[in-house]
């Protein structure tokens, strides 16, 4: 086996804090990045972009966001859909109010606005814990969706309350609007996903991350050893919402192009992102990607197999798809309750020991 950490010695504490301590991992990672940036954009078609990769990247961002809150800081939230809506409506208002400003700035600002809203709805977390908090965040979910549905200012007084993303460009390339090419969509999402994943990784390995994890693992003890729960929890809400807001902004402006609060950002979205992080692995950036991939790809795959290959009626296929995904979720949880990320880590651990277990 090539998979060895032997020979990989660290000579400074800085090196020791690296994201991929094993050299082979690091190379693998660079290779994936190279393919993602240098190969995929040239071969991608609009099906792969719109049905698979773009939603995957966007959900991965949302999943990282929720993972920061739930996986790292231990605050279970079911308000993700609502926060994504904040991002979407913020970017819409910004795009239509200040057409001259670059879209990237709008998207980041939308994240910032969502962060503020997230902090607001995070306040109850200081008293409410566990599932009570999860259910309490539903208040955010329902209230926000209602608000965007009810107040015409948010959707620029359009007749139906739908919002549409106008065309915006980066360096002359359209990234939103109908003229956007598949690779442009993919690239902007990829850049955001990679940068944000890196930021998330930095935050979680530093002192903020440790505060979050301390609060997660044992909040009382954390407070007694000097973690201020107020700032720790609220910063988790802020950072998480920032990510989720960006995901919402991208979902609306780049991916869907049009959206309506209750349909695109309903409670199902909150659940979906939560599934992703649990299936992928709580408290793991890699897990966020894995979970997003699993839940975006699996249904598409199943649908293609059942309908296109077996020729089943679509409704039957849809019902059976539901059964299969449900059963697979349970199956994965039984095999490894800590998600795909842990499964991966365990596999690596076994590889490392191979061929001499114990």
């Amino acid at each position: 086996m090539f998979y060895r950490e032997a020979g990989d010695f660290k000579t400074s504490y800085r090196d020791d804090g690296q994201t991929f301590p094993i050299r082979l991992d690091r190379w693998g990672y660079y290779a994936i990045l190279a393919v993602a940036f240098l190969v995929v954009p040239f071969v991608i078609d609009s099906y792969w972009a719109n049905a698979v990769l773009v939603p995957f990247l966007i959900y991965a961002i949302a999943a990282i966001g929720l993972n920061i809150l739930t996986g790292y800081a231990g605050q279970v939230s079911l308000g993700t859909g609502g926060f994504m809506a904040v991002g979407a409506y913020a970017v819409y208002k910004l795009m239509t109010s200040f057409p001259g400003v670059p879209i990237v700035v709008h998207i980041v600002l939308a994240g910032a606005i969502t962060a503020v809203v997230g902090v607001l709805f995070g306040l109850p977390s200081l008293r409410i814990k566990g599932f009570y908090l999860a259910v309490a965040t539903l208040a955010a979910q329902f209230f926000l969706v209602w608000l965007f549905n009810k107040v015409p200012w948010f959707y620029n007084y359009s007749a139906s309350g739908q919002i549409n993303a106008p065309e915006r460009t980066i360096l002359g390339w359209a990234v939103t609007g109908p003229a956007t090419t598949a690779s442009a969509k993919y690239l902007i999402c990829l850049v955001f996903a990679v940068v944000l994943a890196w930021v998330a990784r930095n935050l979680t390995r530093g002192s903020v991350g440790r505060k979050w994890m301390a609060i997660r693992d044992m909040d009382i003890a954390a407070e007694i050893i000097g973690v201020n729960p107020l700032t720790a929890k609220l910063s988790a809400f802020a950072v998480s919402s920032f990510f989720v807001g960006i995901a919402g902004a991208l979902l609306f402006s780049v991916y869907l192009g049009a959206a309506e609060a209750s349909e695109a950002f309903g409670i199902n979205k909150s659940f979906l992102v939560l599934f992703m992080i649990i299936i992928g692995g709580l408290g793991s950036i890699f897990g966020s990607f894995a979970g997003a991939a699993f839940l975006v790809l699996l249904p598409v795959l199943l649908k293609n197999v059942l309908v296109a290959q077996f020729g089943w009626p679509t409704d039957l296929a849809a019902h059976i798809e539901l059964m299969i995904v449900g059963a697979l979720i349970v199956f994965f949880l039984i095999v490894e309750p800590h998600g795909l990320a842990r499964l991966w880590a365990l596999t690596k651990e076994k590889l490392r020991l191979w061929p001499f277990p114990h």
Binding site: L346, E349, K350, L353, P357, H358
Partner: protein, 274 residues
């Protein structure tokens, strides 16, 4: 005190078991022991030696911790019990008092005790009688019978856990670290109760203990576990006189007990591990 006499009937036999957690972590590397009926057998050893794991392997509680017995055999009265679920084992008369007490926090003390009688089918009257019996062993519990277990002190919880086990009318109790965190007086008291229950009700005990001193005073026979292996065993009296045991487990040197202030080096090597 009597010798661990081979003439006594063997109640429990553990034969060369191996336990693996999470499919990768090997914790017990071939542990064998036998527990005679009516005796108090002590399982001694440092942290992480595998005492708890051994007890859980016997009571079949490993599954919920993602551990499994991969080799060896466990038999109770000559019958293999590895495949039984914990409930059937309790019905057969083997019950475990877990490390860290594990009382049902939200149930009152009395309700906790009553759950101990869950597997019994001999009627309310008998259960009520045993409740009184438990209260007579642990008068403190009677005072606190109506309070939620979560709010009682460590000692009370330990008593509650033991009382709960007694409520199942067991033949054998697996007792995991009964003295942990208890005041000296209570430690004595708990062990006195163990002795009383052992003599009065004829219950067999297998107890895992760190407090070697006390354990060897009350036990009849002892096993010493180190990193998942039995490294020494013998009658309690003999163990107490063993110089290694004296030095490493009883903290005695040739000059009697040595002061904790005087310990100088952190690392000493065990002769048998050398």
């Amino acid at each position: 005190m009597f010798d661990a006499a081979p003439q006594r009937e063997t109640l429990l036999e553990v034969n060369n078991i191996e336990v693996i957690y999470n499919h990768v972590i090997l914790v017990l590397k071939g542990v064998s022991l036998s527990v005679p009926k009516g005796g108090i057998t002590a399982l001694l050893g440092g942290n992480g030696a595998g005492k708890t794991t051994t007890l859980k392997a016997i009571s079949n509680l490993l599954h919920s911790e993602r551990g499994e017995v991969t080799k060896g055999a466990i038999s109770y009265r000559g019958e293999r019990v590895q495949e039984l679920d914990p409930a059937s084992l309790v019905k057969k008369g083997v019950i475990q008092v877990m490390e860290g007490r594990h009382c049902f926090e939200h149930l009152t003390i009395e309700e906790n005790l009553l759950t101990g009688a869950y597997t019994r089918g001999d009627g309310r009257a008998a259960i009520a009688r045993d409740l009184e019996m438990v209260y007579s062993y642990f008068p403190r519990l009677k005072e606190r019978r109506k309070s939620q277990a979560g709010y009682t002190s460590g000692g009370e919880q330990q008593m509650c856990a033991m009382g709960r086990a007694l409520m199942s009318r067991p033949e054998m109790i697996l007792l995991d670290e009964p003295s942990m965190g208890l005041a000296p007086q209570l430690v004595e008291q708990i062990f006195e109760i163990v002795k009383a229950v052992n003599e009065g009700e004829g219950v067999t005990f297998l107890l895992a203990e760190q407090n070697t001193n006390v354990a060897l005073r009350y036990a009849h026979y002892g096993y010493i576990l180190e990193s998942g292996r039995v490294v020494m065993d013998g009658p309690a009296d003999a163990l107490r006189e063993n110089p290694d045991v004296k030095e490493f487990y009883l903290g005695m040197s040739d000059q009697g007990r040595k002061s904790f202030r005087d310990v100088r080096s952190y690392r000493r090597r065990k002769r048998w591990l050398a």
